[in-house]
C-alpha cells in the first residue's frame, strides 16, 4: 500500500507539472494574440500563463534550488516543452543566406549544410527558432557559428554577410495563380576576421 501511495504521489506530481507546462504553452499562444480568440482574452491569458509558470518555479530566482530541481526533472522526463506543434498555425519557413566576399572581389552564395537529412532537419529547426524573441540574445552568436562552419570550407573568404530570411509561402489560391514564395530579410550580420557588426 505504501508503495502504491508513493507511485500515486509521483503520478500526481508528474502530471501536475505536465499540466502546468502544457497550459503555460497554450496561454502563451493566446497571450501573443496568435489565435482566433478575441483580443480581450490576451490579457487574461498572460495572467494565466504567469500562474502556470509560477507552478513551475520560473518566477523564483535563477539559482533557486526548487526551480532548478523542477527544471532538471522536466528536462529528464522530456516534458519541458508543451505539445503545440504547428499550433495555432504553421509558422513561416526561414533560411539563411551567406554572402562570401573574396579578396579578389568575387561574391559567392552559400548556406550552412549537413550531410544527412536528419541533421538538415535539425538545422532547419534551428533557423526557425532564431526569429523568436527568446532567442534574441543568442541570435548573433548562432549566426556567427553557422557562418564560421561555412568559412572553414572557404578559408580564402575575407568577409561573410549572413542574412536570415523569412520565406512566405503562397496560399492555395496564390499558387493556382502562379505566384511563388516571397522572401523577406529579417536580420543581417557582417562577419570578418577582424570583428563583426550588425547592419
Amino acid at each position: 500500500m505504501c508503495s502504491k501511495r508513493i507511485h500515486a504521489a509521483w503520478f500526481g506530481t508528474h502530471f501536475f507539472l505536465l499540466t502546468a507546462v502544457c497550459l503555460g504553452g497554450v496561454f502563451w499562444l493566446i497571450a501573443q494574440g496568435a489565435t482566433i480568440l478575441p483580443s480581450v482574452c490576451n490579457e487574461y491569458a498572460r495572467k494565466a500563463e504567469l500562474g502556470a509558470t509560477w507552478c513551475l518555479g520560473k518566477e523564483a530566482g535563477a539559482s533557486n534550488p526548487l526551480r532548478r530541481a523542477i527544471a532538471t526533472y522536466l528536462h529528464a522526463a522530456g516534458i519541458q516543452a508543451g505539445y503545440s506543434f504547428f499550433a495555432p498555425n504553421v509558422p513561416s519557413h526561414h533560411r539563411l543566406t551567406l554572402e562570401l566576399f573574396h579578396d579578389d572581389g568575387r561574391v559567392e552564395y552559400e548556406s550552412p549544410h549537413a550531410r544527412s537529412k536528419a541533421a538538415a532537419l535539425r538545422l532547419d529547426s534551428l533557423l526557425d527558432k532564431l526569429p523568436e524573441e527568446r532567442y534574441e540574445p543568442v541570435r548573433e552568436v548562432v549566426l556567427k557559428m553557422l557562418a564560421f562552419s561555412v568559412w572553414r570550407e572557404h578559408p580564402d573568404v575575407k568577409r561573410i554577410r549572413a542574412t536570415l530570411e523569412t520565406v512566405h509561402l503562397p496560399s492555395i489560391t496564390d499558387f493556382e495563380h502562379g505566384k511563388a514564395e516571397t522572401i523577406q530579410p529579417m536580420f543581417s550580420f557582417d562577419f570578418s576576421l577582424r570583428g563583426e557588426k550588425q547592419q
Binding site: K4, R68, A76, Q80, F85, P88, R122, D124, V142, M145
Partner: protein, 313 residues
C-alpha cells in the same frame, strides 16, 4: 465495512492507476524504442561529430546549447560531462563523442534484443538526453518524445517475458499491477499530448480552412509532395484539417471507450504514418506509433494478469 466517499474515490483512483496487465505492451514498447534509438543513431551517424563538436569544429558548437541548458539548471546531463570524463582519462573529444554514439547504438540494439534491458534503457535515455540537451537549439519535437518514452521505459518493470534477459536468467514474472501502472502513465501522457496539441490547433484559423495543412506540406523541408499534386485535393484539405483537430482533442475520451478505441487508434496511427511519409518526419512518426501501439494497441489485460494480484515491487 462502509467506506466514506473520499476513501471510495481514493480506492477507485488506485484501481485506475494500478490495473493488472500482462507485459505484452512492455515488449512492444521495448522493441519499438530499441528500433527508434537504433535508427536515431544511424540517421545521425555521418553528422554526429559535426552536430556535437565544440565551437569552431562543428555546426554551431556544443557549448552554446549546453550554456542555454545550464541556465535552466546546471545539473541537467549533457555531452560536455562525458567529454570532461574522457579528458581526465586522456581521451580526446572526438573519441568521447564516438563512444557516446557507439553507446547509443549498442543500447538500441540491446533493447531490440532484450539483452541487459534495464541498463540498456538507462544508457539510451542518458546518452539521448545528453545529445538532446547539448544540441538544444537543434532539437525538435521527436527528441522530447524520445526522452519521455525512454524515461518511462527505464522506470518500467523490465525485463519482459519475451526478452533475452528472461530467457537467460529465468526471472520471475513482474507484478501485473506495476506493469499496469506504467502502462497507465504512458496512456495518460498520450492523452495530454493529443488534447493540448488539438486545442492549440483549434485556436488557429488555418486548421479550419485547410491552409495550415497546405502550408505544412509545402513548407521546406517537409515538402516531399509536389504542390501540383496537392492542389488536386484542395477541397479535402479543410475537412482533413478539422478532422485532425477533432481526432486529437477527442482522443483523450474515445480512446478509453472500448467500442471507439480501435477507430481512434487507427486514425491516430494513420495520421502519424502520413506525417512520416508525406513530411519526412520518420523518427517523430515512429516514436509516436510505438507509444500509441504500446499504450492502447496491445490487448488490455491477460487472464493470467487478472488472476494475479500483489504489491508493487
Amino acid at each position: 465495512m462502509r467506506l466514506n466517499p473520499l476513501h471510495r474515490a481514493w480506492q477507485r483512483f488506485l484501481g485506475f492507476l494500478f490495473p493488472s496487465e500482462s507485459d505484452m505492451w512492455l515488449t512492444v514498447f521495448r522493441i519499438g524504442l530499441g528500433l527508434q534509438v537504433t535508427l536515431y543513431a544511424l540517421f545521425l551517424r555521418s553528422d554526429w561529430h559535426y552536430l556535437f563538436a565544440s565551437s569552431g569544429k562543428g555546426l554551431v558548437g556544443r557549448e552554446l546549447g549546453e550554456a542555454i541548458t545550464s541556465f535552466d539548471s546546471p545539473v541537467i546531463p549533457k555531452l560536455g560531462w562525458l567529454i570532461a570524463v574522457g579528458r581526465n582519462l586522456n581521451m580526446s573529444e572526438e573519441t568521447m563523442l564516438t563512444v557516446a554514439w557507439v553507446g547509443l547504438l549498442s543500447a538500441g540494439c540491446l533493447l531490440l534484443l532484450g539483452l541487459l534491458s534495464r541498463p540498456a534503457a538507462i544508457v539510451a535515455w542518458l546518452v539521448h538526453l545528453c545529445a538532446a540537451e547539448s544540441g538544444g537549439l537543434l532539437a525538435y519535437g521527436a527528441d522530447n518524445f524520445m526522452t519521455t518514452a525512454l524515461f518511462y521505459l527505464m522506470l518500467s518493470p523490465l525485463p519482459d517475458r519475451y526478452s533475452f534477459d528472461h530467457w537467460v536468467t529465468k526471472t520471475k514474472p513482474k507484478n501485473p499491477q506495476a506493469l499496469g501502472f506504467w502502462r497507465r502513465v504512458l496512456q495518460v501522457q498520450l492523452c495530454f499530448v493529443y488534447f493540448i496539441g488539438g486545442v492549440g490547433k483549434l485556436l488557429g484559423n488555418g486548421w479550419w480552412d485547410g491552409s495550415n495543412l497546405w502550408r505544412a506540406l509545402i513548407r521546406p523541408p517537409f515538402n516531399l509532395v509536389p504542390p501540383d499534386l496537392l492542389i488536386r485535393f484542395k477541397y479535402a484539405l479543410p475537412l482533413l484539417g478539422i478532422s485532425i483537430c477533432l481526432i486529437e482533442v477527442s482522443y483523450s475520451i474515445f480512446i478509453w471507450i472500448k467500442k471507439t478505441r480501435l477507430i481512434w487508434l487507427v486514425c491516430i496511427l494513420a495520421m502519424h504514418v502520413a506525417i512520416g511519409l508525406l513530411m519526412g518526419l520518420y523518427l517523430f512518426a515512429l516514436v509516436m506509433i510505438v507509444m500509441n501501439v504500446a499504450a492502447f494497441g496491445v490487448p488490455c489485460t491477460s487472464k493470467r494478469a487478472q488472476g494475479t494480484s500483489g504489491r508493487i515491487e
